[in-house]
Amino acid sequence: MLLGLIHADAGRGRFGGQRYEDLSHPSAQVGVVLEDASFHPGRTGRNHLRVLAAAGRHPDERVDEVLERVGLTPAADRRVKGYSMGMRQRLAIAVALLGDPRVLILDEPANGLDPPGIRWMRDLLRSEAARGSAVLVSSHLLSEVAQSVDDVVVIAGGALRANGPLEQVLGGGAGPVTRVRAAEPQRLGSILSDQGIRADSDAAGALIARGVTPDRVGKLAADHGLALIELVAVSRSLEEAFLDLTADPS
């Protein structure tokens, strides 16, 4: 819907205030990898990119550049029907990168990639984000996503369930959670309570402080000359957070 491929019942998605269909040079502004990226089986990888480079008004040199970037140069002149799933996925990523866009939208980008390929893809996305691009990844591989994203949006049943930095979403509504053990647990409990931080003891005698990061707890303890034995951030996995957020209330 965001890309104008499916008609929306209501609402609109915009890029910099414009619908995708209205962008003056769409493939130079938004790069897209769809889950079921398809290619003409009889066309070579290079020719597939040449066609889309021509349609997107990108120079032919970009074809060689993106082929190199996704590691497909040696297979560029083979017909796509001989490509593995991973090679097809790399070709789809090359298409997305053709116009050197500042926005990347990737639907299940790790599909078909082997472990080194997944790591390559993760590094690629991080490098794109590091140079200022917005990278939107839609995926069901939550453990994979958790390793590479800054912010998470959880949508279920057509409704927004959570939206924010990864740590915040993992921490639930209370924000970050810290597990801390101190030489004087009662005194630490008082210090945290004085700061308005809610902390409960667990079975092992450690305090579980909610809405506070380990950094802050450590600093408070240091300010009061209190020795700490353990200080660690507690978080749910993204999968646990997703299941909690999307659970049917009934």
Binding site: L3, G4, L5, I6, H7, Y20, E21, L23, P26, S27, V32, L34, D36, A37, S38, F39, H40, P41, G42, R43, T44, N47, R50, V51, L52, A54, A55, G56, R57, V95
Partner: protein
């Protein structure tokens, strides 16, 4: 539009289907020309029609255009095409132009080949050959018909997503339905787009094309009528394409 046109022409050049069917079109045209010029005794009046109108480009470009647009759905490349050019009307217009250009080039290539072979064989048999002026006029007619059918094929193909249904339907319409309808009501179906109008636009007489008894339109009128068919097919195809979800 020129970038899109270039992309569509590249699509044609980079698959074997186009090259194979274009080769087949040249081959069949040459075969017909060779056989006719070897086995018949054309007169000075009939040689142009008998030997130099065996240009099969119109049929092949029609099939290629239908394959070209329906192949976008078959191979699901329609998604990447419309991500590169989200304006579906411009996309379809570029494809229509590309197949018109392809029809023109294919027809010219066939005409050149047919002319070379026809002149050689007829010369060897010491039979009359057409004047270059009238041959050039016929080549122009053939090329314009191929252009029109290339454009028409894209509009027709845009109406049917399934490639097999599209191609088989096209062949049935062209070889079965339209000839039968022309036989039943020639005054109405002389405006039909697959056989009657292309024959008229090629300036080939009804008798020479197996449409004896049909009062074909003049070539200029036939071209105008074909343009009307192209506009109608394009409008219907564009409306359908714009309404479709690419799920």
């Amino acid at each position: 539009m020129s970038a899109l046109l270039r992309a569509e022409v590249l699509k044609l050049r980079t698959t074997r289907t186009f090259l194979a069917l274009a080769g087949l079109a040249v081959g069949t045209s040459l075969l017909i020309t060779t056989l006719v010029s070897l086995l018949t005794e054309p007169t000075g009046d009939s040689v142009l029609t008998d030997v130099f109108t065996s240009d099969t480009s119109s049929l092949f470009i029609l099939v290629l255009a239908v394959v070209g647009i329906s192949g976008e759905w078959r191979h699901r490349t329609i998604t990447s095409s419309l991500l590169a050019e989200p304006d579906r009307l411009r996309f379809l217009a570029a494809k229509t132009l590309a197949f018109a250009v392809a029809g023109l080039l294919l027809s010219l290539a066939i005409s050149l080949s047919v002319a070379v072979v026809g002149f050689i064989v007829l010369g060897l048999r010491d039979l009359p050959t057409p004047g270059l002026g009238e041959l050039a006029t016929q080549v122009g007619h053939n090329a314009s018909v191929a252009m029109l059918l290339g454009a028409f094929g894209v509009g027709v193909g845009a109406l049917v997503r399934n490639q097999v249904v599209a191609v088989v339907g096209l062949l049935v319409l062209a070889f079965v339905v339209e000839p039968v309808l022309i036989g039943l009501a020639p005054e109405v179906f002389r405006y039909a787009p697959f056989v009657a109008l292309p024959t008229a636009a090629s300036d080939i007489s009804a008798g020479d094309s197996g449409l004896g008894g049909v009062d074909l339109l003049a070539p200029g009128l036939a071209v105008l009528a074909m343009l009307g068919w192209i506009a109608a097919a394009f409008a219907a195809g564009a409306a359908l394409l714009r309404a479709r979800d690419l799920d």
